[in-house]
């Protein structure tokens, strides 16, 4: 099953199934992985973090609701929230988890502790 799930090579990952894209300006764009969206089922709503909120690595940043469950999205790094995907369609978190389905962006001092694609693939297989 894991082999069919997408794990793009240009991203970093967490054990809690978040992905991180390092942007040109040094900030981190965050979303949930294909594995996570598959486990959650149809996503109906995302409760975003407040812009300018300071988050420690591991803090609950956002909440994702499917029809029958709620899951927390944890801050993959320590930093401050700079933007949220305001126009997010929850269905895109399922259909385009790495692209249109991004959740929020935050400042990022270090990517220490994040997993590379190979390490993440190891976790979900």
């Amino acid at each position: 099953m894991a082999k069919e799930l997408l794990v793009p090579d240009n991203l970093l990952y967490t054990r809690e199934h978040e992905w991180v894209l390092l942007l040109q300006n040094g900030n981190a764009r965050v979303g949930i992985t294909d594995y996570a969206q598959h486990e959650l089922g149809d996503i109906v709503h995302v409760e975003m973090p407040e812009v300018e909120k300071r988050l420690e690595k591991g803090d609950t940043a956002a909440e994702i609701e499917s029809v029958k469950s709620v899951a927390s999205v944890y801050a993959p790094v320590t930093g401050t929230v700079v933007a949220c995907n305001e126009s997010l369609d929850p269905a895109d978190v399922n259909g385009n988890p790495y692209d249109k389905g991004w959740l929020f962006e935050m400042s990022c001092d270090t990517t220490d502790g994040l997993l590379n694609p190979t390490e993440y693939r190891g976790i979900i297989s």
């Binding site: 089922g41 149809d42 109906v44 609701e65 029809v67 269905a91």
Partner: protein, 445 residues
Amino acid sequence: MKKFNEVELEPPKFYRTEGEVVRRFTRLSTLNFSVDANFYPLGSCTMKYNPKICDFISTLPGLRELHPMRIGEDSAQARTLRRILSELNEMLSDLCGFSSFSLSPAAGAHGELSGCLIIRKYHADRNDSIRNEMLIPDSAHGTNPASAAIAGFKVVTIKSGPTGCVDIDDLKRHLSNRTAGMMMTNPNTLGLFEERVLEICELVHSAGGLMYYDGANLNAIVGVSSPGAMGFDVGHIDLHKTFAVPHGGGGPGAGPIGVRKGLEDLLPGPIFSGGKMISPSRSIGKVIGFNGNVGALVRAWAFIKTLGSEGVERASRDAVIAANYVRVSLKDIYPSFVSERFCAHEVLLSAEKLKREKGINALMVAKALIQMGFHPPTIYFPMLVHEALLIEPTETENLETLDEFISAMRRIAELSLEKISKFPNNTIIRHPDEARAARNPVLKG
């Protein structure tokens, strides 16, 4: 071609005549499964037969037309009502091993909240308000932590052990001088009797906490054992479960809250006792506007009176026998980690093996049962078991019905995936899009 009871589900803008209302709602009613018409083995819901004498009593005009503020008056009607509510209090107290009940809470969750408030005040009155933690098993129904949180407690989750019962070591690790109490149900939500309940109550009492009994599963024990005998201090009963008050499509029920000796003063008033109404001296206060769901309370009174004490005990015994009969008849196809053990009044099975071998999961089993005219059991709860099927047959279903259900469940395991994916095709709608309903809420016409 139109079916005889086909009805436009969308509400009309208005009705021209009473006839239009009657026509529409008569047809709508035929779209429902109901205990009157169908086997309804929902785990933890106790969908037993609702005797019609109970409904009849709630329609008596002297009761129907009685204003809540007149219930304390000297009329024959008020006196009779106070008498039977007092008798209900007495009977429930005796059956549960408690000293007194408040009949105010309108539902189980309401009872839980009231119970949490009682525990809170108990400690506050003893200047022990540091006790702000409520211990709750991870298998507990969601109303337990929700009620505790609304009462101002911090919820501390206690793990279930490998047997499905409360992990005593985990409990011990979480007991402290901040423990206000613990909420439990026995049997638990896995349908198992908590074998160490006496020990658990002792441990929590030694730590200074009170024990709360969630009465959702009382139908397994009432008349045989009681929460009072197990050591519980406070507890609620779901009258719409154990005492046959009909579910009405989601309510109304009633969740009377009982206490052991020494805690009566804390109950939410009014208390019906000896034909009078009492305001407890250290009450947590009013939990509802008027006197509680009296229409439901008198139904429960009539149910217990017509059953008698022997009947109450016999009902619990038959409920446990019936659940175990279903268990042994289906555990080969739907095994779970508890299906080899005796269960209480409900059995926790699983479609995990079926899913692995044939791709049929609990949701598909449910849809196939609907196709065959059975209301499905509870699915995907408790979450400790994957593909959970929590089945509670109750004591009021005859052997023919139980055997029909068992053979339906066995047949489902033989169905092709292609066939199951089309079920149900004999109900007015099929596989509604719940994601869409949540993504784009349309909540009125």
